[in-house]
């Protein structure tokens, strides 16, 4: 049976992890490679590097980071943030990442999804979607530029278009929930899962391990992404998986 994926996300700026991390025994607490390796040992199912500086002007830092991560990790690596072109895809994949996550560029140039899927395969094209409920409570709008700009595009229409263009996966972040730490946006996830047949990863709102159990019990999403929960060591990935297993949610474990 296919396991539900638990995916830690690292927010990276200039090659360093931004959020405070305090792993015991780590030499450099800001080193994404060391942290990602720790997650790998804890049985993370994949790791996401999100470069929040979101420019690829300093390509050498990013290339070096991905190359080092790919050589150290024994699980898949997704890289996102600031990807604008097929060249960016090529650079990230040839450095050793397994998937590339695109957000604003996909909205601005939807053709990029198809070009990337045709050239590199659907399995490596992740479309990250940030969405927020409309004020009149009728549906959701898609936002870009790190959540600062409302595109006015309807979420459900957009995710269906992404699937048609060749997205291999949707990484869905609820802006209403992001940062609140009071649980994933079950309603938004179910709305999206009803209209697409590609994997959907839940993001935004994870505050404790019970939230991860809840999202798998109340939706058919394929994975749950969390940052703070793991960064601040409130729970290890092993802890989350142990709780999931108690609730009969299929997860891959270190046994």
């Amino acid at each position: 049976m296919l396991a539900k994926r638990i995916i830690p996300c690292l927010d990276i700026k200039d090659g360093k992890v931004v959020k405070g991390v305090n792993f015991e025994g780590l030499k450099d607490v800001g080193d994404p490679i060391e942290i990602a390796k720790r997650y790998d040992q804890q049985c993370a199912d994949e790791v996401v590097f999100l470069d929040i500086t979101a420019t690829y002007e300093n390509r050498d830092i990013i290339k070096d980071l991905i190359q080092r991560a790919a050589s150290e990790l024994s699980i898949p690596l997704t890289v996102g943030g600031g990807i604008r072109s097929l060249d960016d895809f090529r650079m990230i994949l040839s450095s050793g990442a397994d998937k590339v996550s695109i957000n604003s560029a996909a909205i601005q140039h939807p053709g990029l999804i198809k070009q990337a899927a045709d050239e590199f395969g659907v399995q490596c094209v992740v479309v990250a979607v940030d969405a927020k409920k409309r004020k009149d409570d009728d549906g959701y709008d898609v936002y870009i530029a790190g959540g600062r700009k409302n595109t006015g595009i309807d979420l459900l229409k957009w995710v269906q278009q992404c699937e048609q263009l060749g997205a291999g996966e949707i990484l869905l972040t609820s802006m209403d929930k992001d940062g609140t730490r009071d649980g994933f946006d079950i309603e938004m996830l179910n709305a999206v899962l009803d209209v697409v047949s590609i994997p959907v990863i839940a993001s935004g709102g994870c505050g404790d391990k019970e939230d991860i159990v809840e999202v798998f019990e109340k939706t058919n999403c394929d994975g749950a992404l969390a940052a703070s929960l793991f960064h601040y060591q409130e729970a290890t990935i092993d802890d989350v998986k142990a709780l999931c297993a108690q609730h009969h949610i299929p997860v891959r474990r270190n046994l």
């Binding site: 049976m1 296919l2 396991a3 994926r5 790998d40 049985c43 199912d45 790919a70 050589s71 150290e72 024994s74 699980i75 898949p76 994949l93 040839s94 050793g96 397994d98 395969g121 659907v122 399995q123 291999g168 996966e169 047949s197 590609i198 994997p199 394929d222 994975g223 891959r252 270190n254």
Partner: protein, 201 residues
Amino acid sequence: MIVIVDYNVGNLMSVQNAFLRIGVEAVVSRDIEVIRQAKGIVLPGVGTFPVAMENLIKYQLIDVLQERKEAGIPILGICLGMQILFEKGYEVQETQGLRFLKGEVKLMNVSEKIPHMGWNELMFVKKHPLIQNIKEGDYVYFVHSYMAFPSDDELVAYCEYGDQKITAIVAKDHVMGCQFHPEKSGAIGQKILLAFKEMVQ
């Protein structure tokens, strides 16, 4: 020496890195003489069946692979590299494979999401040295839309996806293949690569 055949299908570095993590120096090459000296051959592969076969032809690698197979050198296909070990594939267009194993590769017929992406449990059908270090129920990482339909006697392990049994490991003598990516499958993947290394003498 293990040679990872470079026929220009996806990222070969990840397979090389995975061998390095278990202390094995594997060489990436498409040089016929280098492949001829290999004690073990790995055929990786991400992409499509016809492109993979076209590239093997373009780099004139079919004959040397056939020759090494006949010489009894262990050969491990990974993902698309496993699929092309079969007689025929139907991805994009009907294409002849290497025909080292009996069977065909077709789009999976499942009620579940395609691609089959993520971690799934191995179920064993028969014993094989490649799985000697792991146990039934261990999880490995899959990403694929097409699957192999092998002959019963060459199926070593499968996984369950919806109501379908997905071919996971196949082998005939020293020719073997994994549909999943051992190089991305954590500690279990490393044990599989280690088992391959142990078969290479």
